[in-house]
């Protein structure tokens, strides 16, 4: 049962210190559930991110629901049943949302009143560059063999790098549709395309 307390405490911390939205929060989630605690594997973490990309809703909620479901079973085989998993999902989702809910409630009144205060503006100007670094660290930590070359085969590594590069170009710049004309591609079709490429390259 101890796993549930650990999960609740971890997700309360993730919620309270998760500044800067989904991707910035990811580095904190990754550190907590993959490196600091042996709850899920690196590959599984990336799978959760992928699933979150393909399904609607905030990434923070998605990851809390998924990790809350699988972690108890991973840590203790006796808890590997849907009922214990659903309990974990529910607890993690509540833990990541409830403290912030009250925080927003009280802070939004306060900040709205002192919106123009120099101190508040100063704090946020200090936070912004840090948030950029948080997102970058999430990307760097996922650039590893587990995600790019799980079988240790050279051509698969190069294929993975190519998939990453093309995906980035499609999302950030878009598809060239004419001279200096680019059609920005939504992340969902990019993910679907990458999955299809994976199937054609590695699955046949």
């Amino acid at each position: 049962m101890g796993i549930y307390w650990k999960l609740i405490w971890a997700y309360i911390k993730i919620g309270i210190f998760g500044f800067g939205g989904g991707y910035a929060m990811l580095s904190l989630v990754e550190k907590t559930v993959v490196f600091d605690n042996p709850w899920i594997s690196e590959q599984m973490f990336t799978d959760i991110v992928a699933i979150s990309q393909m399904t609607p809703g905030p990434i923070g909620i998605n990851s809390a629901t998924y990790i809350g479901y699988v972690a108890p079973g991973n840590m203790n085989p006796e808890l590997a049943s849907p009922i214990w998993g659903i309990l974990g999902s529910l607890l993690c989702t509540l833990a990541v949302t409830v403290p912030c809910f009250f925080l927003v409630l009280y802070c939004s009144h306060f900040i709205r009143r002192h919106h123009e205060s120099g101190a508040i503006k100063g704090i946020f100007s200090g936070l912004r560059p840090v948030v950029v670094g948080l997102i970058a660290s999430a990307a760097v930590m996922l650039m590893n063999a587990a995600n790019f070359n799980p079988n240790g085969i050279d051509w698969q590594l190069w294929s993975s790098i190519a998939i990453c590069l093309v995906s980035f170009l499609l999302v950030y710049f878009g598809l060239p549709v004419g001279k200096n004309k680019f059609l920005k591609i939504h992340p969902i079709p990019v993910i679907i395309l990458a999955g299809l490429t994976g199937f054609l390259l590695f699955g046949l």
Partner: protein, 209 residues
Amino acid sequence: MKTDKTDTGTSSSQLSDGGGAIYRDLFLSFFKIGAFTFGGGWAMISIIEREIVDRHGWIERDDFLDLLAVAQSLPGILAVNIATAVGDKLRGIRGSAVAALGTILPSFLIILAIAIFLTPDVIKNNRTISAIFMGIRPAVVALIIAPVITSAKAAKLNMKTLWIPLIVALMISLNLGVVSSPILYILLGGVGGFLLWWVSNRKLNKQSN
């Protein structure tokens, strides 16, 4: 306030005076926002604006921007923060609870269904699914690199501030225990920003005295 005439639901919230229907509308609006936004935060904002500013006219556009600034500056999940702030503005704590629940519920239910049926064993032992995920993983990394650049632009980084995200990313990636904790750098950023303001504020005061 707009009410949906074709609705045949009989939830207790709409039986009371006209004020009751707003809870149902709040819930439905944020349920929709939770159910139809992919990829997180930024993509969500346009849908939220469409729903609460244009469609329901609950909040003026200027107020919405202020609210957004607050929701983004606070920790937590952006969509839930916005829902909480909007609900609070309309109907206090009850309104915010209804709006937050509406945002959370769709993804909770969808992910739960996926977690139950798409277990890691299924992913590992099924050649097709594992090949699909081998293709998806590098793409996900790319999808996180893209917001690094867009957020760097939004934060208006220059040669004086560029070192901050570089150091933060390096230290966290090295995974060295406490000095690699993202929380440490959030606190440092907040305190640093406050001190910079405080110092420049004192200089200004001295000059004017």
